[in-house]
C-alpha cells in the first residue's frame, strides 16, 4: 500500500459525500476521490417518493451539495464511473473502463438496491421500482398516464416507500390500490395503533388497501402490465405497478473482495469493516450491536452519522455512532417522525389525539423507553430524541399523563436551555 495514494470512496450518495466532507473536517489533507456510477451529481433520495414524484423539478434542487462545495473541500467527483472489483492485496480498485486506481484507504458507500419481485411478469413494461432519480421520473410519468387513462396504480408493499408513492399518486389524481402481504401497514417497524392510523388516513384519501395479499403473477398485454394476480385468485387491474418491497444492501463488491458480509457489509459502531484499511457507511452496511445482533438501517441519519464515524476511523480515530436512530416519512398532511428502535417492545403508551391524528406511540421494554413514533407531534419527537440519546426514560405512567411535561426530565438532567420549552 502506498500511503500517499488517495483515499477512494465508492458510491457518491448520501454517505459517500459525507465521508468526503468529514474527512476534510477531520484534517485529511491528501487526495480524495468520490466515485459514483450514476449520471447525476450526488442527490437526496427522500423527495423521490414525496414532493419530487408529484412535481419533478430541476436536478439541482435535489442536489446534496453544490459543485462549489465539493471544490472547496477538494473532493474530486467522478460520475458515470462503475467500480467493478477491489484487489485488497494490491490496494487497487478496478473500473468498468479497465482503469485501475491505487488507494491508501477505501470507503464503501454503495447504498442498496430495490428488491425485485421474483415473480412471472415482473419484467413487463410499467412495472417499476423506486431508488434513483430516473426511477422517480419514470414513476411520476406512469402515474400521470394512469390518472389520464383512469387506470389504477397498484403499489405492491405497504411500507414507507409504497405508502408515500400511494399518497403522491392520489395527489396526482390516480386511483391507487396497495397490496400488502401482512395484515397491516408498516408492520415490521410500528405498533398496530400506528398502522391503524395510517390505514384510516389512506382509506380516507380513497386508497384501496388489500391485506394478506400474496402476489403470484403480473399479467400483461403487448408487453405492458395490466393486472396483478394474488393467491386468492383475485386480479387487480393495473395501469402501472410500483414495487416497494424493501431493499438489499449492496455489498457485492465487498463480499467479492472477501470482506465479512451478511446481507450488508459488517461494520462496528465506528464503521470499521473486517479490513483495517476499509470502512463502510450507509445503506450498504450491517452494523454489529453490543448484543451481537446486526442492525440494517436505511435512513439519511444513519448514512450521515456512519459516514462521520467512517471518516474518523480512516484517520485512526474512534467516533462511534450510538445516537438513537431517527427517520421521517411524509404522507398527505401527516409528518411521521420515528426515533429509537421499537423491536422487542412489551408496552405501548400513546399521547395526544388518535383521531386527528396528532399523537405519539411510546414503546417501552421492561418500563424503559426504547422508541417513539410521532404523527404530527414534533415536540414529542424532538424531546424523545434527546431523552433516548441521553439514556433517559420517562415512566409509562408519566407518558400516559397528558399533564406531565417530558421536557421536565430534560430540565432535571440540565439538557434543556432556559428557553428551550
Amino acid at each position: 500500500m502506498d500511503p500517499q495514494a488517495p483515499i477512494l470512496i465508492v458510491g457518491a450518495g448520501q454517505a459517500g459525500v459525507q465521508i468526503g466532507e468529514s474527512l476534510r473536517q477531520e484534517g485529511y489533507q491528501g487526495e480524495l476521490l468520490l466515485i459514483g456510477n450514476e449520471l447525476h451529481p450526488p442527490y437526496q433520495r427522500p423527495p423521490l417518493s414525496k414532493k419530487w414524484l408529484i412535481e419533478p423539478g430541476a436536478h439541482t434542487a435535489l442536489a446534496l451539495r453544490g459543485a462549489d462545495s465539493l471544490r472547496r473541500r477538494r473532493i474530486d467527483l467522478r460520475l458515470d464511473t462503475h467500480v467493478t472489483a477491489i484487489d485488497r492485496a494490491a490496494s487497487t480498485l478496478q473500473l468498468a473502463s479497465g482503469e485501475r486506481l491505487d488507494y491508501s484507504r477505501l470507503a464503501f458507500a454503495t447504498g442498496a438496491l430495490a428488491r425485485a419481485l421474483p415473480l412471472p411478469g415482473a419484467a413487463l413494461g410499467e412495472v417499476l421500482s423506486l431508488r434513483s432519480i430516473n426511477d422517480s421520473g419514470a414513476i411520476s410519468a406512469a402515474i400521470r398516464r394512469c390518472a389520464a387513462e383512469q387506470r389504477p396504480v397498484v403499489v405492491i408493499g405497504g411500507g414507507f416507500i409504497g405508502l408515500e408513492v400511494a399518497a403522491s399518486a392520489r395527489k396526482l389524481g390516480a386511483e391507487v390500490t396497495v397490496l400488502e402481504g401482512l395484515p397491516r401497514l408498516m408492520s415490521r417497524v410500528t405498533a398496530p395503533i400506528v398502522s391503524e392510523a395510517f390505514e384510516r388516513l389512506h382509506r380516507a384519501h380513497g386508497v384501496e388497501l388489500v391485506f394478506g395479499a400474496q402476489v403470484t403473477e403480473l399479467k400483461g398485454a403487448g408487453g405492458r402490465v395490466e393486472a396483478v394476480r394474488t393467491a386468492d385468485g383475485r386480479e387487480h387491474a393495473a395501469g402501472c405497478v410500483v414495487v416497494g418491497i424493501g431493499v438489499m444492501p449492496d455489498d457485492r463488491l465487498a463480499a467479492a473482495a472477501g470482506l465479512a458480509c451478511d446481507r450488508g457489509i459488517i461494520v462496528d459502531d465506528c464503521a470499521r469493516t473486517s479490513d483495517a484499511s476499509i470502512v463502510a457507511a450507509g445503506d450498504c452496511t450491517a452494523r454489529r450491536l453490543a448484543d451481537g445482533r446486526l442492525l440494517r438501517l436505511e435512513s439519511v441519519q444513519n448514512a450521515v452519522e456512519q459516514a462521520k464515524s467512517a471518516a474518523a476511523a480512516l484517520m485512526g480515530r474512534e467516533r462511534p455512532f450510538r445516537a438513537a436512530p431517527w427517520f421521517w416519512s411524509d404522507q398527505y398532511d401527516i409528518k411521521l417522525q420515528m426515533v429509537g428502535l421499537s423491536h422487542g417492545y412489551d408496552q405501548v403508551v400513546t399521547r395526544g389525539d388518535l383521531q386527528k391524528p396528532a399523537f405519539s406511540a411510546f414503546y417501552f421494554q421492561s418500563r424503559r423507553l426504547i422508541a417513539v413514533d410521532s404523527l404530527n407531534r414534533i415536540q414529542d419527537h424532538m424531546q424523545s430524541k434527546r431523552l433516548l440519546d441521553h439514556g433517559l426514560s420517562p415512566t409509562p405512567e408519566q407518558v400516559a399523563d397528558a399533564q406531565f411535561e417530558l421536557q421536565s426530565l430534560l430540565k432535571d438532567a440540565k439538557l434543556a436551555t432556559a428557553d428551550g420549552a
Partner: protein
Amino acid sequence: MPQVTYIEPDGRVRTLEVDAGSSVMRAAVDAGIDGIEAQCGGNCACATCHCYVQDPWLDKLPPPSDDEALMLSNVAAERRPNSRLSCQLVVEPALDGLTVELPDRQS
C-alpha cells in the same frame, strides 16, 4: 442579488450572493459552508440546519412557523433567542446583508 453572510463554527466569515427565493440553508450547502448539515433537505424534520440570526435581522424575518418553533425546542447546540432553522429562511431582496452564525454542532 441579496448577500448573506455566514459565520462558520471556527469563526471564518463568508459572504454569498444568494438567489432571491432560495433558502439560507440551500445557498450554504451549495457553496460548502461549514456548520450546516441539513439532513432532511429542508423539510423541517431534522433541525440540523440550526443557525443564530445576527442583529438586526431577527426582527426583519417572518416569525417561525409552529413546526419550526417546535423543532427548535430541542436543537443539538445551545438554543438561543435568535435560533432559527436556516432551511425555513427564504432570502429576499429586503434581507440583503442578512448575517447568520452557525453552531459548533448540529447532531
